[in-house]
Amino acid sequence: MSTFMQFITTGLRLGSVYALIALGYTMVYGIIKLINFAHGDFIMVGGYTLFFTIPAFMKLGLPGWAAVFIAIIVCAVVGMLVELLAYRPVRKRGNNLTSLITAIAMSFILENLAQAIPAIGPDPRVPYMLFNNDIKIGSFSISVATLITIVVSAIIMIGLYQFTQKTKIGRAMRCVSEDKQAAVLMGINVNKVIIITFAIGAGLAAVAALMYIAQYPKVTTTMGATLGIYAFVSAVLGGIGSLPGAMLGGIIIGIVQSGTSTYISSSMADTFVYLILIVVLMVKPAGILGKNIGEKV
């Protein structure tokens, strides 16, 4: 029983982090049909920001986790700059392929820039450990980090969904993602909506970074690459462009990884992740919650 609960909580915890990151992929894809390869690197930006700001916050007598607000701002600014300086100009003149190449290039640029900064350097950094105690309920114990990760992610996801349904700017996002031309005719400033989407997606990556380093206290310049791939797979599995899809996909990938590691072998975890991805895409090419609508011309 306790092994089973452990497997579920670990899966949910991993899955919540993937889901938070997957939301960023799926929102940007939904709105400009671009797979933002640099999205994973926003986690790295968040990771280093936390590495530097958590100790600073604690020195000031503030709780370490509150540094995440700085990380959110830094990531949002980086996300907006990437859109403003690279993606938007390329999108204006090029096509989907040129945009995709730009995104790949942006990912390498961010990683290399980070390596070039002396304070970051090539070696991994070990951030301050947050939430490193356990809560015991009978024979079952759960780490505070796990609990916080699951609860906070759930709140953020519900909040984000409500945001897209109920707020003016959220509705504008849905319009832009469905039909840019009609959105303009409604008086929606499409470029503004796109840049807000980048800011939100990158901000979520900062939250994911906090959750992640609470579990694996190591920050490297390439940490976004692996995490980014799992999150991207989550987004595709759930149906890229769909917010509930990204959440579901993330949780499934987390559970599968945790289950394989617990009951089979951790070295098999990736095999199962990609196997499930392929099987789902064979049965439902648009992903579990994806809508199979032909691209509009």
Binding site: R171, C175, E178, Q181, L185, M186, G187, I188, V190
Partner: protein, 234 residues
């Protein structure tokens, strides 16, 4: 109200509009008729800022529309019902209507407009919770029209509202257009269905290969031999 002078628009090397001029006065219902590919949609897209002109001027009263970002134009009272309707398929009928009111902050005005739309399109009221993508073509046309009304326009540009609709629905839509005019809204109606358009319009322009070939009172054009031959199948 709307004044277009020597407008030229091209898609890369293809020139779609070769210097057209037209005027729509306050309260008028003016139609722009022409065959497929004549440049009607290009004209409307350029007016509403979705396309950039290579030369010419577009004035809405004393506002230079070419210097106005496309999403701002709506604030000056110009709405468009685009060709192919372009309703937000994943949103409900009601959500679509509220999107039309995106740039209006007066809540009372929004509710009044909703009431107006539901009064004139009772079918939209019945289906207000339904996703727009599940509506029939005629209902989508009503929704696209209602959504434009929600922007509180003084002038509406309509691009082939009759496209793909049964004759019965076409007359229903056209009687609504006439009613819009009666309620004080100026209308520029783009149509391939010349007969219907000319029968409700005050004045008309004929567009051929990116140029205005004829213009005048709608009733006169309806009886013009050249128009009859080319557009009315007589």
């Amino acid at each position: 109200m709307l004044n277009i002078k020597d407008l030229c628009v091209s898609y890369g090397a293809i020139s779609a509009l070769k210097g057209i001029s037209l005027t729509v006065n306050d309260g008028e219902l003016v139609t722009l008729i022409g065959a497929n590919g004549a440049g009607k949609t290009t004209t409307l897209h350029t007016i509403s800022g979705l396309l950039k002109a290579s030369s010419g001027t577009i004035m809405l009263d004393d506002i230079d529309l070419q210097k106005t970002p496309a999403h701002k134009i709506i604030e000056y009272g110009m709405a468009q019902v685009p060709e192919g309707r372009h309703v937000f398929a994943q949103m409900t009928v009601l959500e679509n209507l509220y999107m039309g009111a995106y740039s209006i902050s007066d809540k009372k005005k929004i509710e009044d407009n909703i009431e107006w739309v539901f009064h004139h399109f009772p079918r939209l009221k019945e289906r207000s919770k339904q996703l727009a993508g599940t509506l029939s073509g005629g209902e989508q046309q009503m929704l696209a029209t209602g959504r434009a009304i929600m922007t509180n326009p003084k002038i509406v540009l309509m691009d082939e509202p009759s496209m793909g609709l049964s004759p019965l629905l076409v007359s229903e839509i056209f009687s609504i257009i006439k009613e819009l005019q009666k309620s004080g809204i100026t209308i520029l109606l783009v149509e391939q269905n010349a007969k219907m358009a000319l029968s409700i319009a005050d004045r008309a322009y004929v567009l051929e290969n990116g140029k205005i070939s004829m213009s005048g009172n709608a009733s006169e054009l309806l009886n013009d031999e050249r128009v009859k031959k080319a557009y009315l199948g007589a």
